[in-house]
Amino acid sequence: MVLRYGLLLVPLLFLALFFFYPLFEILRLSLAPEGQLDLSWLGELPSFAGTLGFTIGQALLSTALTLALAVPTAYVFTRYTFPGKNLLLSLSTLAFVLPTIVVAAAFRALIGEQGLVNNALKALFHLSDAPVQLERTLAIILIVHVFYNFAVALRMIYGFWANQSPRIDEAAQVLGAHGWRLWWDVRLPMIRPALSASAALVFIFTFTSFGTVIGLGGPRFATLEVEVYQQAVNLFNLPVAAGLSLAQIGIMLLMLLLYRRLQQQPAIDLQSVQQVARRPRSRSEWLVVGAVIVLMVVLLFTPLLALVVRSFSGADGFTLRFYQELSMNRRGSVLFVPPAQAIGNSLLFALTTTALAVALGMLTAYLLARRGARWLDPVFMLPLATSAVTLGFGFIIALDEPPLNLRTSPALIPIAHTLVALPFVVRSISPALNAIGANLRDSARVLGATPLQVWRWIELPLISRAIIVGATFAFTISIGEFGASVFVARPDTPTMPVVIFRLLGQPGALNQGQATAMSVILMTVCAVSFVVIERLRTAGVGEF
């Protein structure tokens, strides 16, 4: 008993130590430097109202768009089998690993003024001006946000849907529900937990968007996150930066409370029966499946493909030069990183993060499943909503004494990645866990199963798919160094994204080509890892 409660407290302890403590310290230093609360910065906040409006507006739009595309896709994935389905699903997460600076370049190569699409259209219709003018518009910000978050929504919704019995759907159809009524009254309510969970994540993600907004939207667009960065880094105006961070956290808390009201208990118990996916039969079914495949290919894979093509294209056509150069230290410099070392570091951090996040995430999901602990739910989302710069400064001042002298330790890297990954793992596991019927557990107990046996033989198999989804995201977040800006002081443990940033910081075609090549390697390492993770599931708990 004590052990069980003790275990459930571990995630809280982790959060307290690595999130609330640093956050509190930096807020205290910023807002009450002399020990007295100084509120003069409050007067400056109203000037950020416009930024706030834009931040919320674009996040809502991005979330709505992402869900509007992901729900039908998830439905098709649940209902039908088709060639390449698993591959498509795995690869969809690839978008998530690329640094925004690389994605911005890929989109520019595709639909920029001089991009592939515009050049083709110009040649085709003999136009003098580029017909697709998306650069520096809200539209391109939204497109890239959907590009990044589509897989989040798809995987969470599909993971949930696939574990539901198809009987209710069939019954509803027999009873005469068709068209939008079938969707509105039956299907959407059935997946509401996954729907709201993924909506919350996508919202938070786009709410704190940084690189996409300034890199592709241009300087006219700014989110609160961008303002915090400018205030904290360029102007060193810590009180205003802290005030804006608090505003960010406050708004997120409000949103999360709203979300908790929306999220109710699922109507249906999760059974171990799975949706029976079948091959599409009629022409219209094939059409629907085809449409989804085309959507995913166009939205997710053409930008990635553009990167792959570029990494092999030199001035005189096909070349392997960029890949070869990656492992050459021509100038004998200390900044050089052999690709194998970068890959190794990335994998080491990503595996540690995955292990840590899955272990903590599972404990958190159990903690949140307890009646008295539900209110804690938004607390675990907060790290995702907190400005990376603010938290990074917090690490510097809070974690500077033994036994927690971690500010320059490599161990801080997976810890910080875990803070970001944890909400994903929790969001993935919680809906599945809460949907397990109490009668299932009770029956097992009546039949003499110990709590550990119930977990191992009943619950774990039922949530294994959700765990895999969470693990995939944890891995991806870490290997893509999502929120890399947290690390203010970094010992020399360069990862793949770090190498990409270093290369892009210098002029010259070789540097740019190598950065593209490294991005492709990053995607490849990730794709291979997804396959391995998927194998782990089938080899481990999944076949029950």
């Binding site: 370049a105 001035a315 230290n329 100038r331 200390v334 900044l335 595996l351 292990a355 272990a359 540097n511």
Partner: protein, 348 residues
Amino acid sequence: MKILGALFVVLLLIMPAAAQDDNTLTLVTHDSFNVSEDVLAAFESETGITVEILRSGDAGRMVNQSILSKSNPLGDVLFGIDNTFLSRALDNDLFLPYQSPALEGIPESFILDPEYRVTPVDYGDVCLNYDVAYFEENGLALPESLDDLTDPAYKGLLVVENPATSSPGLAFLLATIGVYGTEGDYTYLDYWADLVENDIRVDDGWETAYYGSFSGSAGSEGSYPLVVSYASSPPVEILFAETPPETAPTGAIVAPGMCFRQIEFVGILNGTDKVEQAQQFIDFMLGLEFQEDMPLQTFVFPVNPDAELPEVFVEYAQVAEEPAQVDSAEIDAHREEWIQAWTETVLR
């Protein structure tokens, strides 16, 4: 799950804790610091000091976190603070004074702190780069002053970086402030209003501007033939070309008043117990070996006039003739105000 758990424990065990022995000197620096392995190794074997490099983001973030941690510094010596952030660091007592004997012979103009709390190491000029082919094909003369850029002949040709998010962007803003001033009939803001009138493009950072909007770089896909970059970018463009071109694809415009000079400094962090080792390191940074190594590693110019420049620099790099001047203390006092006024004028 067990596998993952065991893996995690193993990983935690093999992760090296930040090792601190008596003769390790921790150098806090920005992400783009670089040096040849053998040059650094020579210093280490000569002195017996091991140099550990701690990278802390861009220059601004590095300075801020050093200020935040000044009661318990992250390292022993800090390199890479420039004149735009200098007074913020000095006001916060970040450094211990040290007058290196190696400063002899370094031009006075680089020594911005008379108390020697920081030592100049290198400099770089932020200047316009141009697409050589574009100007040749269109028979267009190069702009010779900031004034020229408001000429309709250069309409829609220039891309600059946002000074709020980019260091060269800020440097170029400072150049305009140095030339037009903040008071009088025609201030820097009037000048920027004219630039906006002339359809300049503003990007968030150097990477986006140089690779995304500028047309001159071999790898870029933009259509703007003028970009705010560094005077040393053209030789680097050649150094990292796929095949060395016969003529340089880009050039720098270094006419009087068109550039801003960034000087990088090194200082001993207040609170270190390795003052002596830190002093040795500073002497080393001013020495010929390090000074001659810098141009090809970090694409900056050495402050030591005796240092010989590499061939590609001699041939393709230029030095600003009369860079615009803005006092370092002024910069820190007005940075916010200037950037905000700029934002109001250019972006709103």
